[in-house]
Amino acid sequence: MKWLNGDKMRLVVAGIVAAVALIGGSTKADFTFGEPTNLGPLINSPGVDASPLITPDGLELYFCSDREGGLGEVDLWMSSRPTKDDDWGAPVNLGERVNSPTWDLGPSLSADGLEMYFCRGYGDMADIWVTRRDSVNDPWMESTNLGPTVNSNAMDCGPCILPDGLTLFFYSVRLGDPPGGDIWMTTRATVSDAWGAPVNVGSPVNTDTWDYWPSLSAGGRVMMFCSSREGGQGNEDVWLVKRPTTCDAWGSPINLGPPANTEAWDTCPYISADGSTYFFVSDRDGGQGSYDLWQAPVVPVVDLNSDGIVDADDMCMIVENWGTDDLRCDIGPAPFGDGIVNVEDLVVLAERLFEEIP
């Protein structure tokens, strides 16, 4: 079973703010992570809590859990909060139209919040399913299997739908493939068309180890995923890969490094729509038991000239590179940028204006 488990590692991790070099060949970091915190005992149970998803308004948290009160094995649950400053409320089971007596996990919501893709597992098999609702206030309707064009007769899981609704990433272990999961994608011409035959994302994203749980930025230019490849911090780690545009090939994956990754299992990456918070799953110490949901603040690097203060000089660097794809200045929307130096980058910088960087 390769949903989440593996041998549990126990290691104390001392992760505080550490720069992550995310651009190959660049000495500049795009962003750093603050210290991760556990989402606490109301969200995390002693058992498995995994595959987080935050709605764009930041007010709903979907995840999977094997806690008591479900329909069996792992179910999808949802917690909400009145504002982003409030604590998450008690999780609610999504009910029998979505959940089954087997494994239900890995939710991904369409941009309008009316379609939810997720994974349903049976033994060592899994398929991608979808459920719909008429409005965000309506209940989810009966789930349907995505069908044999997308789903194989082995394991297909970890769906991630892009905001345009036309591209679906997922991971799969197909019969005849080498052992280990790979990341695949399928597309459709319009949201009313059927999904096409899946395509393997290929090297250097996929390796002969496990590469899974894809999580893409809204523009599809950045993908975070989980991998057991060499070069990480130990066990499964989260890696990040970029491409200049969605028509280009993926660059070389970069390990997110500590404190996002530890010698424990670190997986299921998800960055909130406002770019401020990195959610992930880990069985590191300090949790409620087994796999837990964790979060860490995302801190963009805005001292572009590294002189220790965010000021007009940094702003001038953005102006000098206006309209280009200068990676150092492309800091907005946080944290991945959008491939062009424009007002989005000024907005991110302005939030931190006059901050002194130690």
């Binding site: 409005s135 206030n137 007009a312 001038c316 206006w322 007002v343 000024l346 907005v347 302005a350 939030e351």
Partner: protein, 377 residues
């Protein structure tokens, strides 16, 4: 009937400070109006359309028209044009159905900033006499409007209460009313509430600096709250504010901060007003366009047509005729201050503080070259 035929009143001489500050000098955050242009015939059709509002998501455009075509019609209804994306052209507006429109008068609609509340005036049954203010709500922008509710006798009176304008924060409702306690004909009033969950407090008159003995109506505030546009009511039987271009005109008042008093209104002048009836000024959600209704010639519809004029902030702070990093540095030097020169966002006229809103407006104009000679060569 749509015309307000208020009691004629004796002429009150009001001294107007008619100096046009718009576009003059660079001592304050300023802006210029472009050449007014008439909206396309898909919007200006059917006789006497008046502009109401554009939704904040930019996908709905509301207008009002008299059924039967003439302004004397006893049945004005709202029409809405809906487009899929902000890049699409506006299709022909469709007449709204029940429960928004009735066989009576519906006019002067405006939307809350979340597009989920529609404020308007109507003389439909269930009110407190003549025009009353009503509000309809919808759970999401994809849902239909629910049955409108009367804003209660706290707001509405037995005389005409009309032309509501809800502020961006949802905490102030400007409108015009002929209730006692004003300065003649109708005046602009404002009601406030502590939070959007609270009830409206008793309306307060905007005072004799803004209000005159004429029919002062159609208030519209910039989202930063520092600029108030309004006009007279274009009823031929009503007194118009002295100092204008002949018939009904559009006026503007400013204030230095949202706690300062309104300054004397200025007539927007012949660049924007005509010698015919000009009324109902309404800002676009981003503050870049001023819409208004006018009887001036040149439109496809008979009678009134809807016109628009672009609003362009003056971003070249140092007067070197190019918008560049030097201007941005001036903005950063005054970051966090109430520094009017750099307070250009939200358009027009900012919000009393130099912050990222101003930076966004500057970025839209970055590298623009302006005609003329640098002030400080």
């Amino acid at each position: 009937m749509k015309w307000l035929n208020g009691n004629r009143m004796s002429v009150v001489v009001v001294v107007i400070v008619a100096m046009m500050v718009v576009g003059g000098g660079i001592a304050n955050a300023d802006f210029t109006f472009g050449e007014p242009a008439v909206l396309e015939a898909t919007i200006n059709s059917g006789g006497n359309p008046w502009f109401d509002c554009i939704s904040n998501d930019g996908l709905e455009l509301y207008i009002e028209k008299p059924i039967g075509g003439g302004t004397m019609s006893m049945n004005w209804d709202f029409y809405v044009s809906t487009r899929a994306t902000t890049n699409d052209p506006w299709p022909a507006p469709v007449r709204m159905g029940s429960p928004i429109n009735t066989d009576d008068l519906e006019a002067f609609a405006c939307l809350s900033s979340d597009d989920l509340e529609l404020y308007f005036a109507s003389n439909r049954p269930g009110g407190f006499g003549r025009w009353d203010l009503w509000v309809a709500t919808r759970p999401t922008v994809f849902d239909p409007w629910k049955t409108p509710e009367n804003l209660s006798p706290t707001i509405n009176t037995s005389v005409g209460d009309l032309s509501p304008w809800i502020t961006a924060d949802g905490l102030e409702l400007y409108f015009s009313s002929s209730r006692p306690g004003g300065y003649g004909n109708a005046d602009i009033w404002v009601a406030r509430r502590p939070t959007i969950e609270d009830n409206w407090g008793a309306p307060v008159n905007l005072g004799p600096v803004v209000n005159s003995g004429a029919f002062d109506t159609f208030p519209c505030l910039s989202s930063g709250g520092l600029v108030l546009f309004f006009s007279d009511y274009p009823d031929p039987s009503l007194l118009v504010r002295p100092g204008g271009l002949g018939q009904t005109d559009i006026w503007m008042s400013r204030r230095q901060s949202i706690t300062d008093p309104w300054e004397p209104p200025v007539n927007l002048g012949p660049g924007l007003n005509s010698s015919r009836r000009d009324c109902q000024p309404r800002l676009s959600p981003d503050g870049d366009v001023l819409y208004f209704s006018s009887m001036r010639s040149g439109g496809p519809s008979g009678g009134f047509n809807i016109w628009q004029t672009p609003i362009t902030p003056i971003v070249d702070f140092n007067g070197d005729r190019i918008v560049n990093a030097d201007d941005m540095c001036i903005m950063v030097d005054h970051w966090g201050e109430n520094y009017p020169l750099c307070d250009i966002g939200p358009t027009p006229m900012g919000d009393g503080i130099v912050n990222v809103e101003d930076l966004k407006v500057l970025a839209e104009h970055l590298f623009e070259k302006l005609p003329g000679r640098p002030i400080n060569p």
